[in-house]
């Protein structure tokens, strides 16, 4: 039986992370809570809007209304790592070799390994950021497509075009695919080798959460009454194939997904606060948490594959232990 250790906080949980073995919960007010031999708190942004767990440096990066990027490391230690003036920082990402990127308005900045900062301006808002897993390549989701920059070189960016507003971006773990979330209820993908399009549509709501399964064989997504899980095993991705629908519930929407790091299992969070785990192979479900006060907004597995930290928009967070 999974056991839940609740952590009731006051505010919208933007991100969860494990730093070391300690679960962290970053709230919209900039307070960062951790369960480290008791409940402890530190303060990051004045108004925390976005967060990204930087696995390479084992730290959480956050951007906010104060125009700053914070890093939160072991022991809850916070430090300002970048500033961008008075504009909101709406996206942050970490890349290989300690590179990081952040966006405000139409600009995206990359802090290169070594500390040099490079700015990339766009004709439209830089909506979402992600680094490719290898090399130094930054993807920027934007209106009518995505732009791929090569910050370490002077080479021209690669433009990926698809009509509509692209709000978020993610690379596949093998670096072969780029997938964006859109303002409309759809995902869009590109196979980078040949630029082939992948349309992933049919969602009743906007997709806000994406997660790659172990080795990037599947891409799980929110935005429907079930977790929609697209097959990416073949070299052409999910084209012509139907996705899996896991954890279908008639009266609730999936708001967050998190794939298990070593097994083909996805944790599914719903708008009523329920959390299920479902196995991709046979769609078998296990209830991890009963409905709570608000929609699940963040979930993270730990490295020992047995604990899942979760947060909600109402602040009822916690850690689920599945090993018991």
């Amino acid at each position: 039986m999974p056991t839940v250790a609740p952590l009731d906080l006051d505010g919208h949980c933007v991100a969860t992370a494990f730093i070391g073995e300690v679960p962290y919960f970053a709230l919209a007010d900039g307070s960062v809570h951790r369960l480290d031999h008791g409940h402890k708190t530190s303060q990051a942004n004045d108004g925390l809007l976005c967060a990204f767990y930087d696995a390479g440096s084992d730290r959480l990066l956050t951007g906010g209304e104060d125009g700053k990027v914070f890093s939160i490391g072991a022991g809850g230690e916070t430090a300002v790592v970048a500033e961008a003036g008075r504009k909101w920082i709406t996206s942050v990402a970490a890349g290989p070799q300690g590179a990081l990127a952040y966006a405000a308005g139409r600009s995206a900045w990359v802090v290169l390994p070594g500390g040099k900062v490079k700015e990339f301006q766009h004709p439209r808002t830089a909506e979402g950021l992600a680094f490719a897993p290898k090399g130094l390549r930054l993807g920027v989701a934007r209106y009518n497509g995505a732009t791929l920059h090569f910050p370490a070189t002077e080479s021209k960016p690669v433009e990926l075009e698809w009509a509509g507003a692209h709000t978020g971006i993610i690379f596949s773990p093998d670096g072969n695919f780029v997938v964006t979330t859109m303002q409309e209820n759809a995902l869009h993908g590109w196979k980078l080798a040949d630029g082939k399009h992948m349309r992933m549509t049919g969602y009743p709501a906007k997709v806000k959460s994406l997660s790659w399964s172990v080795k990037g064989k599947w891409l799980a997504s929110s935005g429907a009454p079930a977790a929609i899980v697209w097959p990416f095993q073949s070299k052409d991705g999910p084209m012509g194939k139907a996705p899996l629908e896991l954890g279908t519930r008639g009266n609730s929407m999936v708001t967050c997904v998190a794939c298990h790091p070593t097994e083909e299992i996805v944790a599914i969070g719903y708008n009523d606060g329920m959390v299920l785990a479902a196995r991709l192979a046979d769609a078998k479900e296990v209830l991890l948490r009963r409905p709570g006060k608000g929609a699940i907004t963040a979930m993270t597995w730990d490295r020992s594959d047995r604990r899942l930290a979760f947060g909600s928009e109402a602040g009822d967070c916690g850690v689920i232990d599945i090993s018991a």
Partner: protein, 355 residues
């Protein structure tokens, strides 16, 4: 969870550069009116107030991929409102300032078309600031100035001291010609009573029509009332007696050039819902790009309640408002504000929907 209870009201402030938007914004941010506002601006510019809740945002128009040219929303607003609403305790209402050249439609449509925004906020009113001296010139050289007036629930006619009484009357007549339903407030230095522009409920189907004595009065010039800065009458009634405003000279609207927006006001008896709904749907689909605003009260046959509806381009919303009162004339009225509207055809087809 009830959505309506926690929905934060949003006021949209439009107007040309120099019309007095910054002055009004500064007043809203500094005067004590018991409400805290989060303000979304395009540039911090001249706002002399340091406030964590002033957010700078680049206007970002999204066209939707549904083939409809008028289905546009403001992407930056979606993101900013989402961010603000994660900490809702900080403010009571949101104010959106648009650039001088902005088309107000995408701003308004954001609050109807985006599910996330719609679930947490509601559009309260669109307020247009107009510079009395420069409006005629603005109308000559831009479509936006006209759109902003056409879209407005309230027009603040600012810098009224810089023109002669005749010029002021002409400007007012022009505003009326574009948008007969909007309430006009003459001001100097944007000195409008803030209660007249904030928390109006102009898009609230249940509230708007009873609050607004001018609603649907496009064809009744004797109701054509302009509120001055010291106008303190009760707007909740059609009680226009005893006021000294010179509002009885609107019978003959002087020839107004440079205007492409007009309103069409329709009036009929009880309607057959089986005919009316397909008709209004067809009109909104075919004429949507030309319809800037639409408002109506419909009396359906054998329906004890008034049905109210409103629209922005192709987006249309309707709901039952309240029971018809005893002795109240059960008639249907509909006002379109837009361009290239075929009044004759609208009238004929509207009348054909009568029960």
């Amino acid at each position: 969870m009830s959505e309506t209870q926690n929905q934060i009201p949003v006021t949209v402030l439009t107007g040309y550069l120099g019309a007095g938007k910054t002055t009004l914004l500064n007043r809203i941010l500094s005067e004590s009116h018991g409400k805290r506002y989060a303000v979304i601006v395009n540039e911090f510019g001249e706002i002399g107030i340091d406030n964590d809740l002033i957010v700078e945002s680049d206007e970002e128009i999204y066209e939707m991929n549904n083939g409809c040219v008028c289905c546009t929303v403001r992407g930056d607003l979606i993101r900013t409102v989402e961010g603000l609403m994660r900490r809702p305790g900080r403010f009571d209402a949101i104010l959106v300032e648009t650039t001088g050249l902005a088309d107000p439609a995408p701003v308004a449509q954001t609050f109807f078309m985006d599910e996330d925004v719609r679930s947490k906020t509601r559009l309260d009113a669109v307020v247009a600031l107009v510079d009395a001296k420069h409006l005629p010139l603005r109308l000559k050289d831009s479509k936006e100035a006209e759109d902003q007036i056409a879209f407005a629930d309230a027009v603040v006619l600012n810098k009224s001291d810089l023109v002669s009484p005749e010029e002021l009357r002409e400007v007012e007549a022009t505003i009326r010609a574009i948008n007969p339903g909007a309430r006009i407030h003459r001001t100097t230095r944007a000195g409008v009573d803030l209660r007249e522009v904030l928390d109006r409920g102009a898009f609230d189907l249940k509230r708007a029509i009873d609050n607004d004595p001018h609603f649907l009065d496009a064809d009744e010039h004797d109701h054509d009332h302009v509120c001055g800065p010291d106008c303190d009458h009760d707007h909740h009634h059609h009680d226009h007696h005893g006021h000294n405003h010179d509002h009885h000279d609107h019978g003959a609207v002087s020839p107004i050039h440079d205007i492409t927006v007009r309103s069409v006001s329709l009036r009929g008896g009880e309607m057959d819902p089986k005919r009316f709904f397909p008709w209004i749907e067809k009109i909104s689909q075919m004429e949507g790009p030309n319809i800037l605003r639409l408002k109506g009260i419909i009396a359906f046959k054998e329906d004890p309640e008034r049905y109210v509806l409103q629209g922005v381009h192709m987006i249309m919303e309707g709901d039952h408002q309240r029971a018809w009162r005893e002795g109240e004339k059960r008639e249907s009225r509909l006002v379109f504000i837009g361009r290239e509207l075929d009044e004759e055809r609208l009238r004929k087809t509207f009348e054909a929907c009568q029960a």
